[in-house]
């Protein structure tokens, strides 16, 4: 893939995430989406930069704030939206919702309602790739807050000890729900923790999709060729509330507005896009295409049926027994 294509693809991904999230916010507030939703607004460059460095058979584990990762790994917006609506046509047949979206067909091993729940799953996917002697890699997305979970430590130590093909991507958006990360996190940079595992640590501007892509590409290539894991910290900012409906009493509007000025999409449009000579019309076309796709996704979700109550009893166990799995 040439640079031009890559840039346009990344732009499409960022715009898809942005528009998807804005639409989700609107639909949630309108009462069409049940449950709790956590938006990825302002952090689009990270999932985009990282996943654009992955193959479709590579794995990712995601978080409670997982729509961006899911889109970036290549999921369909219609089935995602249907899942958020709790419909039978959703990725998880309505059983998961926003916090439990997954698409195993593209290596997206699931959002996770447990903060820090993905570290070990990604590590296991890396272990599995090594055992099966494939050259797949696994990426674990996680937040600054999650870096204080014990699972972070156990996974980092294991991945490094065994040189597993795992990239740990910290999305440091400076907040763990209502808590500024420095009040509960004993280091300035999460990447400072790499030393404690003899692991390579890299820090990038998480609002610069090119920088994220470059760092991720590098880490992925190393991992793929036996060079072991990397801890990649991407600095960013959570532009929306922790969840849709969050009164956000713990921070000022000024702080938020200042950070909004660093919007990664804007920055791409006015920076890389210009210097790399992308045609404004191409970008505009992408936006329009995404908008159309999203409108269809919403229509699809709305028109899809709810599951029948009895479906609640399905999908607990795989068909099994010695024969099924022989």
């Amino acid at each position: 893939m040439n640079d031009h294509d890559l840039l346009l693809r990344m732009y499409r991904t960022m715009v898809s995430i942005r528009l998807f999230e804005e639409k989700v916010q609107e639909l949630f507030l309108a009462g069409e989406i049940p449950g709790f939703v956590h938006l990825y607004l302002g952090e689009e460059a990270i999932a985009t930069g990282v996943c654009s460095a992955l193959r479709v058979d590579d794995y990712i584990t995601s978080t409670h704030r997982g729509h961006g990762h899911t889109i970036a790994k290549g999921a369909r917006m219609d089935r995602m939206m249907a899942e958020l609506f709790g419909r039978r046509t959703g990725y998880c047949k309505g059983k998961g919702g926003s916090m439990h979206i997954a698409d195993f067909s593209i290596g997206m091993l699931g959002a996770n309602g447990v903060v820090g729940g993905g570290f070990n799953i990604a590590t296991g996917a890396g272990l599995s790739a090594k055992l099966r002697k494939t050259d797949q890699v696994a990426v674990c997305f996680f937040g600054d807050g999650a870096s204080n979970r014990g699972t972070f430590h156990e996974a980092m130590n294991m991945a490094s000890s065994w040189k597993l093909p795992v990239i740990f991507v910290c999305e440091n958006n400076q907040w763990a729900s209502t808590t500024p990360y420095r009040t509960t996190t004993s280091v300035e940079n999460i990447v400072d923790r790499a030393v404690g595992y003899g692991m390579r640590g890299v820090m990038v501007d998480g609002n610069d999709v090119l920088a994220v892509h470059a760092a991720a590409h590098d880490a992925v290539e190393r991992a793929r060729h036996g060079g072991g894991p990397t801890l990649l910290e991407a600095k960013t900012y959570r532009m929306a509330g922790h969840f849709v409906g969050d009164p956000e009493k713990y921070r000022t509007r000024d702080e938020v507005n200042e950070m909004k000025a660093r919007c990664p999409i804007n920055r791409f449009e006015t920076g890389a896009a210009v210097s790399m000579g992308l045609a404004a019309a191409d970008l505009e076309a992408i936006r329009r295409e995404v908008q159309a796709e999203l409108a269809e996704a919403v229509a699809f979700a709305r028109s899809s049926p709810f599951p029948d109550p009895s479906e609640a009893l399905e999908d607990l166990f795989a068909e099994s027994g010695v024969d099924a799995d022989a």
């Binding site: 979970r149 729900s177 009895s310």
Partner: protein
């Protein structure tokens, strides 16, 4: 008496105990700045400061384990688990440390520690934010477990828990926070280990607790209209179970239906049913029916979520089923058996 919300009632308990005893403190996520994600800690940080109302890292083993360390050394910590679903993260601390230190060390330790765990279904929060896990702790010697169903008990049990010299798990149902109810003026304590007959009846005992108490009461109202008199027993404490109250009620009504939101299989209802089958079998006129979550994780989509959890109609149907089945045929049988029993025993 005043009418206040469940959340407000727990807040009053915290305020009263924190004012009284400077060694009481609270630690958890989103407590100080946010006042708790359900508003249950609103304003506490303003009154007691960041030293005693502590926003923690996302480190459940640390907040629970440090709670134990603080309890062993002169404090009375209240640890908030955010969601009961995250008790699993700190299960070793609860199960191997907190529950055991006093006993293992031959009674040297005191563990005045409260773990607060918001549980139950709320607004399609899905599989990892909707659970009720109290039954695990019934099976762990060394813990007390309380689970209020209304604002008055919420306050009284929380105060008793904080004053207790032993570890107490305090389960508070998320759907109850906004519900209001009468709460006495002045200081009072709800005793740990005592169930409450919150509706008297003669035909059947509905044994239940937490959010299911109100469903059981609604069911009892509907049953009344059908001529069935249901007693509703609110357990309030899960461990130790109030065996006397359970046995007394069922010896009176001769029938039991047990209802909780946690999975039916292996739940608290199993222990209650087993207790009855062991101690009151000869008083039973009908099978013991249990209602609980169907045996799946809690699904997200609203129609699925409602389907897996017991509803008022399920309770009505279950009760009517065992009372009716009895009515014609079995009443006869029952009478005859009693006579026979009198003769042979």
């Amino acid at each position: 008496m005043r009418n206040i919300s469940f959340a407000q009632a727990t807040l009053e308990a915290m305020q009263e105990e924190m004012r009284r005893d400077p060694t009481v403190f609270v630690v958890g996520e989103d407590i100080a700045r946010q006042g708790g994600i359900f508003g249950q800690f609103a304003g506490l940080a303003d009154e007691f400061g960041a030293e005693r109302v502590i926003d923690s890292p996302i480190s459940e083993t640390a907040i629970v384990g440090a709670g134990l360390g603080a309890a062993l050394t002169g404090c009375r910590p209240v640890v908030d688990m955010h969601f009961a679903d995250f008790l699993g993260v700190a299960m070793d601390e609860v199960f191997n440390q907190i529950a055991k230190v006093r006993y293992m060390f031959g009674g040297q330790a005191r563990v005045p520690l409260v773990l607060r765990a918001p549980d139950g279904l709320v607004r399609s929060a899905a599989a990892q934010h909707s659970q009720s896990v109290e039954a695990w702790f019934l099976h762990i010697p060394g813990l007390k477990v309380v689970i209020p169903s209304n604002p008055a008990d919420a306050k009284g049990l929380l105060k008793s828990a904080i004053r207790d010299g032993n570890p107490v798990l305090y389960f508070e149902n998320k759907d109850l926070y906004r519900q209001s109810g009468e709460v006495p003026e002045g200081e009072y304590f709800t005793p740990i280990g005592k169930a409450n007959v919150c509706r008297e009846g003669t035909d059947v005992t509905i044994v239940t607790y937490s959010v299911m108490v109100s469903k059981a009461r609604k069911a009892a109202d509907l049953l009344q209209a059908q001529g069935i008199s249901a007693e509703v027993l609110d357990l309030r404490t899960i461990s130790p179970l109030d065996r006397d109250a359970i046995l007394a009620s069922v010896r009176k009504t001769h029938r039991a239906v047990i209802v909780h939101e946690a999975p039916k299989i292996g739940g608290v209802g199993a222990e209650v049913a087993a207790l009855l089958a062991e101690e009151a079998l000869e008083h039973l006129d009908a099978p013991i029916i249990r209602l609980g979550l169907k045996h799946v994780p809690v699904p997200f989509s609203p129609p699925l979520e409602q389907f897996v959890v017991p509803q008022v109609e399920d309770i009505v149907r279950a009760v009517a089923g065992i009372v009716r089945a009895d009515e014609g045929s079995a009443r006869v049988l029952e009478g005859s058996v009693r006579v026979l029993e009198g003769i042979v025993r």
